[in-house]
């Protein structure tokens, strides 16, 4: 008990004094997961709107695949990204294994189906005639897509949050492709595991508090979004 209590007190101390090590791990995490979210946002938003706004044979199969992808286990992604990035692997020449870029790649793969799926769902949630109404007001196709995205902006914000929340809290892929290298690819989750194993519970708890706080923020936004109504 003492250990935990002491750990929590030290953890708060590390947080309020902006301990450089804790802060650097946090910023690195935000940077890596933020970049991965941006990449997945770009791909997922395009793919999700394309999927929502077109009809083609086999669409259901694709949508099913996207929905399955929303639950991709990070370790599976980590394994496959590792295999591709190995020196002996097909992308080995890029020398990306054990780099932050590798984590961004893996996390993007994890987050993209989430963003795609939510984009698809949120655009489909809009009234069917909304598309026609926008066209009937003289919008070009690009303006129509943009308008729809704007109308679905809150669910899309949820997509961003869900994507970000998914990747910042995952560990399997980060540790496999990033290698948990100090100050370079050591992120909140991998650092927490390592510090726990080293017995540095104070740092581990401080990192966990940051993760919890981020999770809380994300859920706060999601709750807000879910409780809003659409106009008639």
């Amino acid at each position: 008990m003492d250990l935990i209590f002491e750990g929590i007190i030290k953890a708060f101390w590390l947080l309020v004094t902006f301990d450089p090590e804790v802060m650097s791990i946090m910023f690195l995490s935000l940077k890596i997961s933020g970049s991965a979210t941006l990449v997945s946002l770009f791909i997922g938003l395009s793919a999700g709107s394309a999927l929502a706004l077109t009809q083609f044979p086999g669409k259901k199969i694709v949508v099913g695949a996207v929905n399955t992808g929303m639950g991709l286990p990070p370790v599976v992604v980590g394994l496959f990204v590792s295999i591709f990035l190995w020196r002996s692997g097909p992308l080995g020449f890029l020398e990306l294994l054990y780099t932050p870029t590798a984590i961004i790649i893996a996390q993007s793969i994890i987050a993209t189906p989430i963003v795609t799926g939510i984009t698809l769902a949120s655009l489909q949630q809009l009234p069917k005639k909304m598309r026609l109404q926008i066209l009937a007001l003289g919008a070009s196709r690009a303006q129509m897509v943009w308008m729809l995205v704007k109308e679905a902006k809150l669910p899309l914000l949820a997509a961003v949050m869900a994507g970000f929340g998914g990747v910042i809290s995952e560990i399997g892929a980060s540790i496999m492709v990033g290698g948990n290298i100090k100050g370079y690819s050591r992120v909140l989750t991998t650092a927490t595991v390592m510090e726990t194993s080293k017995g540095n519970f104070d740092i581990a708890i401080a990192l966990s508090i940051i993760l919890l706080f981020l999770a809380y923020l994300i859920n706060l936004v999601l709750t807000y979004v879910q409780q809003r109504e659409r106009p008639r």
């Binding site: 020196r87 020398e95 780099t99 932050p100 870029t101 370079y184």
Partner: protein
């Protein structure tokens, strides 16, 4: 056409943002590609904090960037066997010899040692305290059926543990009292402490974590318990992509006088005694005497 233009804009914005935010390390990396060294090592070197002291010195001195991948000795050698690492710092002598003999590694050099210890709850329910031979200690634990935690991760520590079981011809696999974690040394020690169990640990990690653990040293000093670290360069002849100069530079650094002195004093200020004993240039047979 218009939708393409729109997507293009989004793409450019995203790309710029990524370049700005995320790829900063990736940019550093681009001109430092030849400067990367992948060091596959054991969790004990990382968890003890030794590498956190040595590597910045090395990086500053040589300009190389070391990516330390801390795994068990077994996995470290598996990485070496695929050419996914440039240099290894491991402590699993029998496997190391085979690794070199198979042509995966070259230039295996002795760096340092610490020793393994058998730790367990202070009350010592199996009554192993005072027994000199490690094999006898293990026999006692097995016969009394007290819980024993094994790392079971093919690390140097794990291999050493298995050697002792085998030396005493003790049946351990599948026994009720024998638990396998598959985790690193630090976590395994934590688990042993929580479960009031015995385990084999390297002294360095134990000392580093000691204040958090409810575990005492119950057996030590047997010759079989020596934990010897070697540095091995991965054979560039076998894997052309290996950073051979980098690996050699790191290996040379580890056996250099300066580094050996750092190893000698590492941990003294914190634990009162050193965690590792520098052995560069010595012979394995002379250790522990």
């Amino acid at each position: 056409m218009k939708i393409k233009g729109f997507l293009k804009t989004v793409f450019v914005v995203t790309a710029v943002l990524i370049a700005f935010l995320g790829a900063q390390p990736a940019v550093d990396e681009a001109f430092a590609q030849q400067k990367n060294i992948i060091l596959a090592t054991t969790t004990s070197t990382q968890d003890s904090g030794l590498l956190d002291v040595l590597i910045p010195v090395f990086e500053k001195k040589t300009g190389y960037f070391v990516k330390t991948i801390a795994v068990g000795s077994g996995q470290a050698m598996a990485m070496g066997q695929k050419g996914e690492a440039d240099v290894l710092l491991v402590h699993s002598p029998a496997a190391e010899k085979k690794f070199v003999a198979d042509g995966f590694g070259i230039n295996r050099r002795l760096v340092m040692h610490n020793d393994f210890i058998v730790v367990g709850p202070g009350q010592d329910p199996a009554k192993i305290k005072g027994i000199k031979s490690s094999v006898d200690v293990f026999k006692k634990i097995a016969s009394t059926g007290n819980l024993f935690i094994s790392r079971a991760d093919k690390s140097g520590t794990d291999v050493k543990e298995k050697d002792i079981w085998k030396a005493g011809a003790i049946k351990y696999e599948g026994q009720k009292w024998y638990h396998e974690t598959g985790l690193g040394m630090g976590q395994t020690l934590n688990i042993a402490s929580e479960k009031k169990a015995y385990t084999l640990a390297d002294r360095g990690t134990y000392l580093a974590l000691k204040k958090r653990l409810d575990l005492d040293i119950l057996a030590e000093g047997d010759a079989i318990l020596l934990n010897i670290y070697h540095v091995i360069e991965v054979n560039p002849a076998k894997f052309p992509k290996v950073n051979a100069p980098g690996g050699k530079a790191f290996a040379d650094f580890m056996v250099s006088k300066e580094t050996q002195d750092m190893i000698k004093t590492f941990g003294v200020d914190k634990f009162g005694s050193p965690l590792f004993f520098p052995d560069a240039g010595k012979k394995v047979e002379d250790l522990g005497k």
